[in-house]
Symmetry: C2
Subunit: 401 residues, 2 copies
């Protein structure tokens, strides 16, 4: 038999490594591939033949890998352009040389595009014997055709926990307080909305609802008049009706042409101060911590991420399984349960799944019961975390070895 | 027998409620006082006779209270001025009317001043039958005469955990990265220094060392040249040699005449960008979360906070125990262990314990082995946290009931 290769792309999450751990473990349970290579720094490192051998990972390392946040194999933002024939030729040459039958690629939109592009290239050129399988991950939860994305729930749990705990802090004084919590999420409001799980959010600003300054200020005034406090959650990607970001002034681009967001909380604070609705406001921008805080892993999330990796491996033993992403489907019924299904990667790539508008209450008042019913099971359960000297044990990144 | 009153002051911590839980539990084990009142919003609420009865708190509530961050009784920044006779007269009138023998007051510098002032007033005016006992708490760890302060270690654990986990995130790309983590700590570097427990900090900026821009930039350049990354931790209170804060531009005052700090990370980022040592830098300001994140409680910390409350109660049954703060003394020897001791509150009030200069390495290189030996045991152990619907269970604040 040949070998397989697993690599990670895009922004990391608190459970992204569990998918890699799942692929590795599946191959130990059923050694279909002779070797499980880890590709360092995504497709960029694959092009440079930067591989590590994960085949014989110990069970202890596998377990600690599952609680290690961020991409242990390193990541990249390199986008395989479909007209860059040189890259494709080089990749297939490398796949042949290392006898790589299957590439498992974890990532978001752009990574699914890579999966689709490689699969299409092979088909167009009559190249056989290679399979390309996508594994979703993104804290933003904005991928199509999957009920949710591994990584989202743990970030949601961290956000809701932080909202709850900072709210307790914000309330201790009798004085007026306005607190602004800024979350990630890009153009989708999933992460910001998840803060509502804490039950303490007064006002919620999502990218899906055009921000109307006067209407919002009115809600803040009302809230302060009522209880002298106002706890606001704002998504980094919130926009005015004309489509410009609140943070437009600071906007730059990352390598993919995506705007670099962040700063929405500070911008909102200045709007509030300028309007005179409050004399003081605190901002907590959760920044990198929200996608890296594995101490807040949801047991549901880390389990699903691991199982999804196993499912991807097991499905890949069918010689025709290519150009697919393994997705999560929520079963019908009262109790939360899921199936793993296969969807076409090109149906996922380059689309964005927004937070459903019918789940958003008017006047920045938060989210509906349907939204709560969707979100609640995702953050349930807490894995047993292993510690070393008082801090979470972690696997030394493979790209640093 | 008479009653006792417990109240909380100053900025909250992740374990401040454990001291209250300790006082309550001690009185259940030995009902020396008929009633344990909780005073809402510190001395400010006591002056308004805003009391709750905590005497018969259930064991379950006691346990959840210990994992509830922020002051469950509410807090205040009201400073009892020694020349404000009206306040003192009113307080003693209230103590008499509610038959309050002992006031337990948790807080920092200013709260210890309140304890000392009330005790002194009673002495000066020949008032007998009232005792005033301070219980230290502050994430800043800057109180004299105690080895450390309850609340510090849990914040330190959160900071070190976040440093470790965000560092893993920061390293996933091959590109150059500068990451700046900003911590609280006011004029003392304890919290910032504790980030070094993660083992990943490249450069550390403490308030105890005058900040020299050029010398620091040189270190950043060196670090980037060496590994293309630089992880910097900066304390909110860092200053130039002339004593002005890095954040001086934004400085305001709180009610106590203390500068409102914060923003040191952003300021440093701009210094780095302006100097051209890097093209990009990310800032994570831990803000309120670092003192509120009870999911990162250190077991050592929460246990000590609880035991300190019990010790305060038990000592107060000696009719002469007043004007004292219960402090923590580290025992000699290899294994970490502590004694609870009594110190004079007026020896604590209005002093600041800085991070020892002999524990600071030159050139922003972090801290010495002695510092690690001091810090390491404080963050050890993780309590079992009770959850409800995927989020940490908490006690509804008494000031909201």
């Amino acid at each position: 038999m040949g070998n397989c290769l697993v690599a990670q792309s895009g922004g990391p999450t608190a459970v992204i490594n569990a998918t890699v751990a799942g692929v590795v473990k599946a191959n130990q349970l059923h050694p279909y591939y002779d070797k499980v290579y880890g590709g360092l720094n995504g497709i960029e490192g694959v092009l440079q033949e930067r591989f590590v051998d994960l085949t014989n990972m110990s069970d202890e390392e596998n377990r600690i890998l599952r609680q290690t946040p961020a991409s242990a194999l390193g990541s990249c933002r390199y986008k395989l352009k479909r007209d860059n024939t040189a890259d494709f030729e080089k990749l297939f040459e490398i796949f042949d040389r290392y006898d790589i039958e299957t590439l498992f690629y974890t990532g978001g939109n752009d990574s699914m595009d890579t999966v689709a592009a490689l699969s299409q290239y092979a088909k167009d050129h009559g190249i056989e014997g290679h399979r390309f399988v996508g594994c979703p991950k993104t804290v933003d939860n904005d991928l199509m055709l999957t009920d949710h994305c591994p990584g989202f729930a743990s970030a949601a749990k961290f956000i809701a926990s932080t909202a709850l705990q900072t709210w307790l802090d914000v309330n201790v004084y009798t004085r007026q307080e306005v607190f602004i919590l800024e979350t990630m999420g890009r153009d989708a409001g999933w992460l910001a909305a998840s803060a509502c799980l804490s039950g303490i959010v007064d006002l919620l600003i999502l990218p899906e609802v055009p921000f109307e300054e006067e209407a919002f200020l009115e809600q803040v005034r009302k809230c302060i008049a009522e209880k002298n406090k106002c706890y606001i959650v704002i998504s980094e990607g919130c926009k005015y009706a004309d489509g410009s970001y609140l943070t437009a002034k600071n906007a730059k681009n990352d390598g993919f042409g995506h705007a670099i967001l962040g700063g929405a909380g500070e911008t909102l604070k200045n709007i509030l101060l300028d309007a005179g609705v409050t004399q003081r406001a605190k901002v907590q921008d959760l920044s990198t911590a929200q996608r890296a805080f594995a101490l807040c892993q949801s047991l549901t999330d880390v389990t699903e991420s691991f199982q999804l990796g196993m499912s991807a491996h097991m499905r890949s033993t069918d010689g025709k399984f290519t150009g697919k992403m393994v997705a999560i489907k929520r079963k019908e019924g009262e109790a939360y349960d899921t199936d793993y299904i296969a969807v076409d990667a090109d149906q996922v790539a380059n689309y964005v799944k927004s937070f459903p508008s019918e789940w958003i209450l008017p006047d920045y008042q938060g989210i509906t019961e349907e939204a709560f019913a969707y979100l609640r099971p995702l953050i349930s359960g807490t894995p047993v975390i292993l510690y070393e000297n008082g801090l979470p044990a972690y696997v030394k990144p493979y790209y640093q070895r």
